[in-house]
Amino acid sequence: MLIAIPVNEETEKSDVCVSFGRAPFYMIYDTEKRVYEYIVNTAAQAQGGAGIKAAQMIVDSKSKVVLTPRCGENASQVLVNAGVSVFKTVEGTADENIDFYLAGKLSSLTDIHPGFHGHGG
């Protein structure tokens, strides 16, 4: 199974990025092969709809789980329609959060925010 996390840097010791849609990278962890891969988020600089495009990338990566501190409603809709589960990260690095998830210590992300659309004109 693949797990995706928005990260600030291309290392498993990276902090989890505070933004889902505008994170610079996603770390994809393969639980069977136990390897980390990184994809560049081409939606990070999008004028609008970044969350949608980013969620599409995650869906296309075949990840089944997303660990993120927060997620907007549009991105959430894309993920949920594809059967991707979304869990809320806690303080710690990306790999620590994967360990927390695998140990069943993370809870489902329920506070889906309505997005920050249109700010900045």
Partner: protein, 281 residues
Amino acid sequence: MLISILSGKGGTGKTLVSVNMAVVSECGTYADCDVEEPNGYLFLNPVISHEEEVNVKIPVIDADLCDGCRKCIDFCNFNALAYTGNKVIVFEDICHSCGGCTLVCPRKAITEKDKSVGKFEKGMSGNTTFMSGTMKVGVASGIPIVKRILKEVHVNREEDVFIDSPPGSACIVMESIRYADYCVLVAEPTIFGRHNLEMVHELVKVFGKKYGVVLNKCTDKPNPSEDYCLKEGISILGRIPFDASLGAIASVGGIAALEDERFRAIFNSILSGIKEDPELI
């Protein structure tokens, strides 16, 4: 002549200047393009004779025809489409109604439906033609409504038209000045006001517009916006004093130029300043 009145922030006096110029111009048109919070009607009290819905086109995907090629998703520059759970989903609030997805679909699986984003209205206030628009609550962009107002403005093109623009310098303001022959920048006498003046000044230069500044809320204290005009060589069309009687007139929905000869003279002078701008002749 088409004159757009704009400013880098709200509350500088765009509506004050637009309404009063429309009134002193006799038989002019006032067009309220500040569709997020239109307020010109409070002063002009128009009798509305025409009202219509403003619609935009939103794609509708026929799931039976769609084969998941994702050409529409790749095309959409606004990321309004996603392919998830083996079907295309449309994010209506993100869609800019460009129609591109409909064109690129090789299976002709995309049609369009109307979505109402607000209303356009037109009427009269004495000799002044009144136009305005109002966005529906929750709609992301007022630009389609501004476009509808401007389409009507072109019908009245021989008269003087005064476009009360939205505040700021974002897309919707660009739409409001796009066809203008002249832009009036209204500015406050503060450092923040000067900063906002610089923003709209940059905008009108990018658009290659003729422009001048109206300094509002003038006192005998230093005026950073005036300093900026002098430094940049921008023509100052007029100065409106920071006067309690103006506030008193506005607070009961009065029009200063109709209530007080001093203010009529100021707005007349601004209007003739525009008409006599050597760059226009």
